[in-house]
């Protein structure tokens, strides 16, 4: 009789379904801990609540993660290599030849140029990381900051130049004077 077989199968599957969900309710006592992908037990947590309460809690970012770019302008020799390699042209540099001695970067390279403009538009950036590999002084790096959304897209353009507009004019004037 398929009728009674159906009923008994219906009861059985109903009970096993309820057991399964009850198991999950029971396991919901614990949340999974926030271990990063690099840690040993990342794939070993298969029970408990998966939700990560993001702004209060976040996963550790891997060391080779590619997120927001950062430039340490004191170490930058304004070589323009990053601009040339960038596939999406998101870096904008304007250099001014220095008349005075600018000193050395932290790895000993001599600095000869002022960066009048050193802008990176993170809204355009495709996070390929090529600029960081070509950077000779390793002043341009990818940081672990990934939550940098803005209400105004123009705020995504980061300015790294350490010269004020007046200083830029002054440096240009000095260069003109020397040429002249």
């Amino acid at each position: 009789m398929t009728y009674f077989k159906d009923i008994s199968e219906g009861i059985k599957t109903t009970v096993s379904g309820l057991k399964l969900t009850m198991k999950h309710i029971w396991q919901a006592r614990k949340s999974r801990s926030t271990v990063g992908i690099e840690q040993e037990n990342y794939f070993k947590q298969d029970t408990g609540i998966v939700t990560l309460q993001y702004p209060f809690d976040s996963f550790p970012v891997p060391d080779n993660g590619r997120y927001r770019l950062d430039n340490v302008i004191e170490d930058c020799i304004v070589c323009d290599k990053c601009v040339k390699i960038c596939p999406v042209d998101c870096i904008d540099i304007e250099a001014i030849k220095a008349v005075e001695d600018l000193g050395l970067t932290s790895d000993g390279s001599p600095k000869r140029l002022h960066a009048a403009i050193f802008d990176i538009d993170m809204a355009k950036c495709c996070f390929c990381g090529l600029c960081t590999t070509v950077c000779p002084t390793e002043c341009l790096t990818m940081t672990k900051t990934y939550d940098f959304s803005e209400f105004d897209v123009t705020n995504m353009n980061y300015h790294f130049s350490n010269l004020s507009p007046e200083q830029v004019l002054e440096k240009k004037q000095l260069l003109e004077d020397k040429k002249g």
């Binding site: 009923i7 009850m22 939700t51």
Partner: protein
């Protein structure tokens, strides 16, 4: 006064169940659920309520405005009126009625008129489909509900919900009747449980066949409340939202409240009919009168407090099972739904009715 007490009870229970539902749903799916509003998201239900009240009350231009406006109120009123016969404690019942059970079942059937009104007057195909499905489903499932309830009536020999409640505890003879409870309703076993009380004198133990009636009642009550897996009247994936698809703001809130109030009403009814009503689940064991400790003699303040406590907690417990079931099973197809009602639940409930009639003979 009684109206206010019931209204507050309903609102508080609805808020509790609504919050519990969201949390349990989250836990079933390994999520956390609401966490931000208040400690552990406890004020989420209130926040949602306030949000809903602020929304615009939209009435579609082509809708039948008078019917459209009155439908949610009719649905809620007809569900809410059902509470009047529910005894919350030995001393508190809105309207003591000899045929309270009949009244509840009759008045609750009224709400399908409200559902059809809402669906039809919306002038929307999804709403109309939803309303038609709701009616087909609710009318069908009233048969297994009626038959399983009839089994209880046969066992208790009463339609008075307060009398049915009294029979299931240690105060069995305080109501005027002369009740003697035997273990599993078998007089020949010779174990008199009238003074033991607790879970042993609940209807599901007074007559074990009523346990099957309880299961049938529970399944059918899921369908009566349009709850998953029987939520085809408001199947989101097919009908957007069913009969209340055109409603917004306060009127939608009323529908929502009515749906949860309906769950609560069927939960109360299940508690009274099968799970001992306001009686304590703890039995008197020898020299340890647990039942006497956890319930007061009728007429005392303790009786009201314990009665309301047990009644509400049993009902909330049942509603949590509703939620558990909802988040476990996928929605049934309409033919499967009708198959379950007419070909499975109805024959079994007729059988249960027959057996419980015979069992009643063993009880006296």
């Amino acid at each position: 006064m009684a109206v206010l007490i019931y209204l507050i009870t309903v609102l508080v229970c609805v808020l509790v169940v609504f919050y519990a539902e969201r949390k349990l749903a989250a836990f079933v799916q390994d999520r956390l659920g609401p966490m931000q509003t208040g400690f552990y998201g406890t004020f989420q239900a209130i926040a949602d309520l306030l949000k809903m009240l602020q929304k615009e009350d939209i009435i579609p231009q082509k809708a039948d405005a008078p019917l459209f406006k009155i439908a949610p109120i009719l649905v809620f009123v007809s569900v809410f009126v059902g509470f009047v016969a529910i005894p919350l404690s030995p001393d508190f019942v809105g309207a003591p009625m000899r045929n309270g059970l009949y009244f509840v079942l009759a008045i609750v059937s009224l709400d399908i008129i409200g559902l059809l009104m809402a669906g039809w007057s919306s002038n929307n195909k999804y709403a109309l489909f939803g309303a038609m499905r709701a009616i087909a489903q609710i009318v069908s499932y009233e048969i297994p509900i009626g038959l399983s309830v009839l089994a209880v009536v046969m066992t208790c020999q009463s339609m008075d919900l307060q009398e049915i409640s009294f029979q299931q505890g240690i105060w069995a003879n305080e109501f005027g009747g002369n009740t003697t409870n035997y273990l599993f309703g078998l007089k020949s076993l010779g174990i008199n449980t009238t003074d033991i009380g607790g879970i042993l004198t609940w209807n599901i133990f007074r007559s074990p066949v009523l346990f099957i009636a309880f299961i049938i009642y529970f399944i059918a009550s899921l369908a009566e409340c349009n709850r998953a897996p029987f939520d085809i009247p408001e199947a989101e994936s097919e009908l957007v939202a069913g009969y209340h698809v055109e409603y917004s703001g306060f009127r939608f809130g009323i529908f929502f409240l009515a749906e949860y109030a309906m769950m609560l009403l069927t939960g109360f009814l299940a508690t009274i009919l099968f799970l001992g009503g306001w009686n304590t689940p703890l039995p008197n064991i020898g020299n340890v009168p647990l039942a006497a400790w956890t319930s007061g003699a009728p007429g005392t303040v303790a009786a009201t407090i314990w009665g309301v406590f047990w009644m509400i907690s049993k009902t909330i417990g049942l509603l949590l099972v509703h939620v558990w079931v909802r988040w476990t099973f996928p929605r049934l197809r309409i033919d499967q739904l009708m198959h379950l009602c007419w070909k499975v639940l109805t024959p079994i409930s007729i059988l249960v009715l027959f057996v419980s009639g015979i069992w009643r003979l063993l009880m006296v």
